[in-house]
Structures are given as structure tokens and as C-alpha cells.
């Protein structure tokens, strides 16, 4: 159980840093762990593809972004997306992080577009890279039965 909690804490820290740029505080981690009891279905992989995506997401920041983007379009109900949405839901209501979801950092539509352009390009790149890597990885795992 302790190791389970450790895995959850690591996952929460990784997801928080991905979404906000900061590590999770204990309050957020505690809620992420409580979610396993409150909504166990969130943590149950529904398909073998779920396992592939989760395994890739736990590697590093770049694979996580690729997996997130691939799942957004190919498997929006995948475990990785559900867990990321859960973390986002906790963060937007937590005292230390709710402002991340509220405060604009640009003051004009043009400024917004200029700032979004590189992010959009990165997202498209992540989608392409993710599809290239995760597709064969998934097929390989299925072929090997792991």
C-alpha cells in the first residue's frame, strides 16, 4: 500500500509540474491519493492501450506531453487523460494553484495569438511524435502480450 501511495505521489508531482510548472504541494497529493478511494474507476486501465500510455507518461516531461496529445484525439477517455483531468480539477480549486486557471498573462488578442503560436506548434509536434512512437510501442506490447 505504501508503495502504491509512493507511485501516486510521484505521478501527482509529475502531472502538477507538467500542468503548472510547479511541484504538487501535500494538499494536492493528498487529494490525488484520496481520489483512488473515492473514484477507483479513475485508476483502472480500461484497455491495454491505457497501460502503454501510462507507462510512457511516467518516463519524462516530453513523453507525457506526447501521450496527453495523442490521447486527446485518439483516446479521450484513456486513464492518462482521466488522471490529468483529475489533477487539473484539484489544482483549480486548491489554494496555492487556483490562480493558474484564472489570471491572463497577456492583455490583447494579438498578444494571445503570438504566445499561443509556439504552444500550438509544440502541441502539433507532440501529436506527431507521439503517434510515431506510441503507435509502434503499443503494437509491440500487444504482440508481446505485455
Amino acid at each position: 500500500m505504501e508503495s502504491d501511495r509512493g507511485v501516486l505521489d510521484d505521478e501527482c508531482v509529475r502531472f502538477c509540474r507538467y500542468l503548472t510548472g510547479h511541484a504538487a504541494d501535500p494538499y494536492v497529493s493528498e487529494w490525488y491519493a484520496r481520489a483512488r478511494t473515492a473514484r477507483p474507476a479513475l485508476f483502472e486501465p480500461r484497455a491495454p492501450f491505457d497501460g502503454t500510455l501510462l507507462a510512457a507518461a511516467r518516463l519524462r516531461w516530453l513523453p507525457l506531453r506526447c501521450v496527453d496529445m495523442v490521447a486527446r484525439f485518439l483516446a479521450p477517455g484513456a486513464a492518462i487523460r482521466r488522471r490529468l483531468v483529475l489533477v487539473a480539477a484539484i489544482l483549480e480549486n486548491a489554494p496555492g494553484t487556483y490562480e493558474t486557471f484564472e489570471s491572463p498573462d497577456t492583455d490583447s488578442p494579438v498578444g494571445f495569438i503570438l504566445r499561443m503560436l509556439p504552444r500550438g506548434c509544440a502541441s502539433v509536434g507532440a501529436l506527431g511524435l507521439g503517434a510515431l512512437v506510441i503507435g509502434p510501442l503499443h503494437l509491440g506490447r500487444r504482440a508481446l502480450g505485455v
Binding site: 507538467y18 500542468l19 503548472t20 494538499y27 487529494w31 481520489a35 473515492a38 473514484r39 479513475l42 506531453r65 496527453d68 496529445m69 486527446r72 484525439f73 479521450p76 477517455g77 487523460r81 482521466r82 490529468l84 483531468v85 483529475l86 487539473a88 480539477a89 484539484i90 483549480e92 480549486n93 486548491a94 489554494p95 487556483y98 493558474t100 486557471f101 484564472e102 489570471s103 491572463p104 498573462d105 497577456t106 492583455d107 490583447s108 488578442p109 498578444g111 494571445f112 504566445r115 499561443m116 504552444r119 500550438g120 509544440a122 502541441s123 507532440a126
Partner: protein
Amino acid sequence: MASVTVVGSGASGVHFALTLLRKGHEVRMLDAGLAGEAPVEPDRGLSELKRGLPDPVEYFLGEDLYGLTLPGAEGEFYGFPPAKRFVFDAPPGLETRNDGFEPLFSYARGGLAGAWTAGVYPFHDDDLADFPFSFDELEPYYSEVAARIGVTGEDDDLTRFMPLHANLLEPLDLDPHARTLLERYRAKRDPINARQGCFVGRSRVATLPTDREGRRGCDYLGRCLWGCPIDALYTPAITLAECRRYPSFQYEPGVLAEAFEFDESRRIAAVRVRPTGGGPSEARPVENLALAAGTLSTARIFLESWLRGMGERIELDGLMDNRQVLVPFVSLSRIGKAYEPRSYQYHQLSLGLETGRVREYVHGQITTLTTAQAHPILQTIPLDLKSATYAFRNVRGALGLVNLNFHDQRRPECRVGLAPGGAEGASPSALVGGATGGDRAKSGPMEIRYEPAAGEPARIRDAVRRLKRVLRRLGCLVAPGTVHVRPMGASVHYAGTLPMSGTARSRTVSPECRSHDFENLYVVDGSSFPFLPAKNITFTLMANAVRVAEAAF
């Protein structure tokens, strides 16, 4: 024995009861009466709650994460807050079988309007064409209800769709986004009116702008969606509390009305109730019975009573509901602008789209989504969640939602019935065992069938196309693929199963909402409406209930 027994404490039931109490009648109210918890920190704004509550995640998402919206939530743009969960909680044993309809029930104290968005829109003469009275005859009751609950609004371009009545209060303060939209509409009114047949104005809402008669005026805390903590936003629970101050009022919560019992002359003698927590049913003697349980629950009681008393399994046709279509938009000039969390959160503006027939106009409510939860929207943005979060924080103050409502009319293919129950195959008489009451074999679940009217897709397409043009003129963009047609049942404006009729046909009621089948039965909720305009019906439910109480007792 009370002279009138009312089933249900929703918008219709409480105003019916209050009118009778003021006239000196003794009233008993039977109610499931599930209650929510007292509001937390009633003077704090939403952001202050996130900063100051000991456990804000529990408040906003719920201990069991009830408020979490996960991918696959069918295009809804905001989740239901845990604080209002009690409104849709149901005791066991009330299952339904649904075909083309996703019903919502409430067993809460105050009924479904415990979770309404406070829109009050009087019907005009065209809306009332199938009713046995005109707007002029209903206007005094609209005015009376407006005085009771507090209704804001003004004489503007929407008056063509919603006639004026007395006791209108000054409108609430607009938030910056809504103000921008209204100013743009006023600058481009002529082409929008002429080319799109679209008219925009202030919403009429049952929210107090200033303190009045012991209720506080809106403090703009931004907590509307989460349950107004100061009762500035009206709910029927407020009127129920007023009823309970009368010594001649007897409130019995914790019971579900199952069926009424009647003699051979079809005079109702008692209503059978069972505890919400389970247990055997008991009879409550009645002199006059008023069903105000909401259209579907009233139908269930009527069908069950008919089955038990007459051994006949019948259906009620003519079920109506407003189709709703959600159209989210972004106001381009507001991108990058901070939003104001301390503002009124429900619709501040409304619109009407004219169609060929006056009473078939399309009604829209414009909400500037600010303090709704972000995560249901984040997951719909076609980006990874990191980029989506960044995009969202910069467009949050620019987001809005139009909720289009379409009219409905009674059609025979939209029906409510009871499935055969546990004693499947037994004859109806074996099931019911006579008309004198007592616990008997139960019927099965309620069956609800709904088929959309022919031509509905074309009507929706036309309205959405015109709305998008209007929004473009207002400087707003509708992202492709984001328009969501809600399932039937989602609007919770159910009506039509026991309609008012000037002729004494079975399964209809008189203009005073007295049953043509049972002499001392009154149906005072939406069941009695013979037509459903595109407007929210709650205000007319309340006005009609007052009218019936005045006319029939």
C-alpha cells in the same frame, strides 16, 4: 383534516399553498423534502473560498469527487456542484425506463427550482393560445408572484416576446463581458433585428438587486452556480419557509406519495404515502388533493392510482420538454482581459429569434461563464492539457454560452406509462386488489417515451446558423464542433400530460385545473399546460398555481 392536501413543495406547490393559507384554508403538504446543508461562509466570494476554506477541494468537488467532470460527459460545459446534489438525489425504488428521454427528478425541499437559473419569462397571448385564459387574465398572478419572489427586468427589445407585468425591480449590475455584448448589440441593433430576426435584452431573473423584506440583495459573490448563500436568488424553499410560519399549515417531509384512493363516485378519500427511507405505506385522509409533484412524479401518482383503483394500465400522452442547444462562444476583444469573479453568474442577457409563427420563437439565455469549473472546458479544447490550461486562463474572461430553447407541443407519441410490475402476467385486478387501499403488488417502473417533432433538426440548424451570424456581428466566435444539442429531458421543463381542457375529457383538467376524472383532485403543476413555449416555465407555473388557488377555493 386539512381542507387541501398538497403533494410536493416545488414552485407550483408552495405558491398554491401560500395563496390558500392567506385565504384562511388549512393546508397539509406531503413532501419527500430532502434538504441540503447550510451554505458555508455566506459573505465570502468564490476566490475567497478557494483561499480561505480549510478544504476547498471538498467544497467544490465533493468528498467523493461528485463534481468532477471526466472525459466523455456528453458535451456539458459545467459540472453539477456538490452543494446542489441533494436537488437530484432520489430515494430508492423510483426507477424509470426511458426511450428518447433522459428525465431528471427532484425530491428536494423546494423541488427542481432549487437548482434553477432564476429565469422568469411570462407567456404572451400567442403562447397562451391553447390555454383557457389570456395574458390579461394571468397578468395579476404574474404580478403577485413577482411581488412575492422579486423579479428584475426592464422594458426593452425583449418585451415583444415577454409582456410586462407589475412589480418589476431594477435590473442587476451587468458584468463587463455582458455589458460589452449589450453595448455592441445596441450599436448594431437594426441589422441584427432586420436580417436575423434577433432581439437582445436584459434577462428577467428572480434575484433581488437590493435588500427586501428580510432577504438580502445580491452581493455579487459569484456563487450563483454553487447555491446563493444569502437567498438573493429565489428558490421555492424560501416560500416554503413562509408557509411554515402559518399555524394552519402542516408540513410532512420524509414521505413519498404513491397513489390516491377513491370511492365508486371517484371521490378521493386518502392518499397513500411511504417513508422515503423505506417501510410500509400509510393512508392520509384528504378532503381535496392537489398534485404539485412535478409533471413526471404527478403522472406516476395518477397512473398508479388509476391502476390500483380501476385495474386498468393507462398511459398519459402529450409529454413536452424544451429542446436545448448549447452554443459556446468567445468574445474576441475580451481575450486577455481578467474576468470579474465577483459578479452575477447566471444569464444577464437573453435573446429571442423570431420564426414564422410568433409562438414558435426561439429563446436564448446568454451566460458569461466565469466562475464555473475550468476542467470540464479544458478537456474539450483540442490541445494537450498544458496548452489548454494556458489558453483557457487567457480566454476565460471572454467565454460565453448561449442556451437556446425550442418550443414543444403535445403529441401522442410522447407518452408516460407504467410497466408491468413484480407480478408479471397477473391480471390487473389481481395486481390492484380493489380500490380501498392498503399495500398491494406494485406496478413496474415508469416508462417514458419521447420522439422529437418532425422538422426539429432543420429548426435547430436554422436557429444556430442565425445565432452564429448574430454573434459574429457582436464580435464573437463560435469554435467549430462545439455546439451541443442536449438530450430531451435535460431542460427539466416537463409539461402536458394532464392538460387543461374546456371540454370534460378523461385525463384532462378543467380551466381551474380540477380533474375531469376525480372531483376533488387538482393538478397544479406543469402537467396541466397544453403548450410549452421556448421560455422557462417556472414563472408561469407559479402564477398559474396562484390563479388556481384563487379561482377554485
